[in-house]
Amino acid sequence: MERLDRKHGTLSSLPILTILLISFVAPMLVVAAFSIMPRKVFSLFNIPDLSAYAALLEHGYYRSLLWSLGMAFVSTIILFLISWPLAYGMAKVFRKFTLVITIAVVISLFVSENIRLFGWVLTIMKGGLIEGHLRALTGVGFESPLYNVPIIIFSLVYVYFPFMLFPLAQGISMVPDDARQAAADLGASRWRVLFEIDLPLAAPGIVVGSLLSFVLAAGALAESKILGGQTVIVIADEIETAFTYGQDWPLGSALSMVLIVIIAVLAIYGIAKVDLDAIMGKKAE
């Protein structure tokens, strides 16, 4: 019976497996192959070299990479700090009100990210919704907070909020209430309960939420372009430019590969550290 189940399982997963191989793995292999082609070629039939990777250092592309990773890192930390209390409430306190929050957060995803970001521009730009009204009413305005690094980080936090919030709430819901109560009963203060019980037991949710937010923020493009006004050039921007205006596929591929490898290492490291089955549901034995 079990063998039959396994056979049927394998057979029925074949179509989707094939599609994944073609649509996901194949392009990745092509990108990997292009990354070791000489600069500015459009064919894989060339003698491989590492000139594209060399450009990463020579032409300062590493700075874009550092900006992307740095802003992703900071926004992930901020996301974690602001999502924890809300996620905690959703998992343990709010009961039915949790559904309202879930719907409210999910609805924001119905509107495309670009439109939401332009909405922010109109809201906070000089002469926009806030400053314009303030100046018309009081005569005193303020400089626009747009086009700098903090506003990019703000928009990353805003856009990737759901990707931190939901896994975190899921993670916190797995912390048994009696373990928290027992810790308090044995003398632990609220802070000690947080550090000794909540954080370690919610770790799968923390890792999944942080990985999602970090990976998405590291590859984000629209935030730095629209709200950041390209004050800093992020790595996704460089990759896009290399493939389009630059017409330099090997350079674009090499930049992509570096980003992919960094993120893959982080993801594998993070996932290996926690029991993902705990959050995704147990595998059948």
Binding site: P176, D178, A179, Q181, A182, D185, L186, A188
Partner: protein
């Protein structure tokens, strides 16, 4: 066990909305005693214990530990702790880390913590190499001992237990009941235990408090509560029992329905007298009821038909239907087994000494 009060419950009330879970409970818990609170599910005993350890707040009343009021003190600042029904072990920690947890919170050095943990593991007969084992890999009985060791590491003034044995299988539960009683004697600490199981309470406790509908119905030593319950509820809750409605007829005599009474005016002498016209409930435990041979008589006699026989191990239980249609339960030791068959007409009898009167 001294008679010095360690914890005083003064008219404790807990309401959830309109529902009153604990309804004005007062009790003095004595230093070093093993007190068990027994009650059917929904009687409010779990709510009460949560109030006593500080996990919930009282609606009314007060709680005094050695004369100091503690009902406003949060759980983590109280010198008491509880072994949970679920045990509430920390799944991400090893056996050693679990036991050391309260010591770590107190900021004791790693070496002291380890020594104390190993000491407690030895006390509870957990092998030393379990120190690094994950708690999730331990068996039910081992987990029980780990939870106990962790609570003892905290060194509480009073140790509370919320039905910690209820999830275990029968044999393990029996063994652990005795271990717990033994542990109580060795540590000399005050144990407050709650359970719905009377047997558990009888094996372990110095005193038993019976709880029903948010109130204590009777608080007494376990033998007392078994032999002299103060109400039908307690009598029936404390194991199988035969009850008869009776009425006082004056001059130490009683009149009962379905039972022949030959007390010959001795009711006063044995404390089962009723004023003329007053109703009471006569109680006799199944182990005191005997089968009489024809011609034999006793202080109390019931005639009936043997309907069923059940082997309970060391004892045999019989169900007898009396002439007026009610059922009696009789228990004999196996060696005193009744020599007859189901369907036989039988005469049952018992002595006035083994009879108790309940007046409500």
């Amino acid at each position: 066990m001294s008679s010095e009060t360690i914890l005083r419950l003064d008219n404790i009330v807990k309401r959830f909305g309109d529902f009153t879970a604990v309804d004005g409970v007062s009790l003095d818990i004595y230093e070093g005693e093993f007190l068990t609170i027994v009650g059917p599910s929904g009687s409010g005993k779990s709510t009460l214990i949560r109030l006593l350890v500080g996990m919930d707040e009282l609606t009314e009343g007060s709680l005094w530990l050695r004369g100091e009021r503690i009902d406003q003190t949060p759980a983590n600042k109280r010198p008491t702790c509880m072994v949970f029904q679920s045990l509430a072990l920390f799944p991400h920690m090893s056996v050693g880390q679990n036991i050391e947890f309260p010591l770590k919170i107190r900021g004791e050095s790693a070496e002291d913590r380890r020594n104390r943990a190993l000491e407690l593991m030895a006390l509870l007969r957990l092998p030393e190499h379990y120190y690094t084992k994950g708690v999730t890999q331990c068996s039910g009985g081992e987990r029980q001992r780990i939870a106990l060791a962790r609570a003892l590491a905290f060194d509480p003034e009073i140790l509370f237990f919320d039905e910690p044995l209820s999830a275990l299988d029968f044999r393990l539960r029996k063994a652990l009941e005795k271990e717990l009683k033994d542990l109580h004697e060795r540590t000399g600490k005050t144990f407050v235990y709650i359970t719905h199981s009377l047997e558990e309470a009888m094996v372990m406790s110095d005193r038993i408090a019976i709880m029903n509908a948010g109130q204590f119905v009777q608080i007494a030593e376990s033998d007392d509560i078994y032999a002299r319950p103060n109400s039908r509820f307690v009598a029936e809750f404390m194991g199988e029992v035969n009850l008869f409605g009776v009425e006082g007829t004056g001059s130490g005599e009683l009149h009962g329905n379905g039972v022949e009474i030959h007390v010959n005016g001795r009711a006063d002498e044995f404390g089962i007298a009723l004023a003329p016209g007053k109703q009471g409930t006569l109680m006799v435990r199944p182990e005191f009821v005997k089968f009489l041979s024809s011609g034999e008589t006793s202080d109390f006699v019931v005639r009936g038909v043997l309907r069923a026989e059940y082997a309970l191990g060391s004892r045999i239980q019989y169900k007898v239907e009396s002439a007026d249609g009610s059922n009696l339960i009789v228990e004999n030791l196996r060696e005193d087994r009744y020599q007859g068959h189901v369907g036989d007409s039988v005469i049952l009898g018992w002595d006035i000494e083994s009879t108790h009167m309940i007046v409500e």
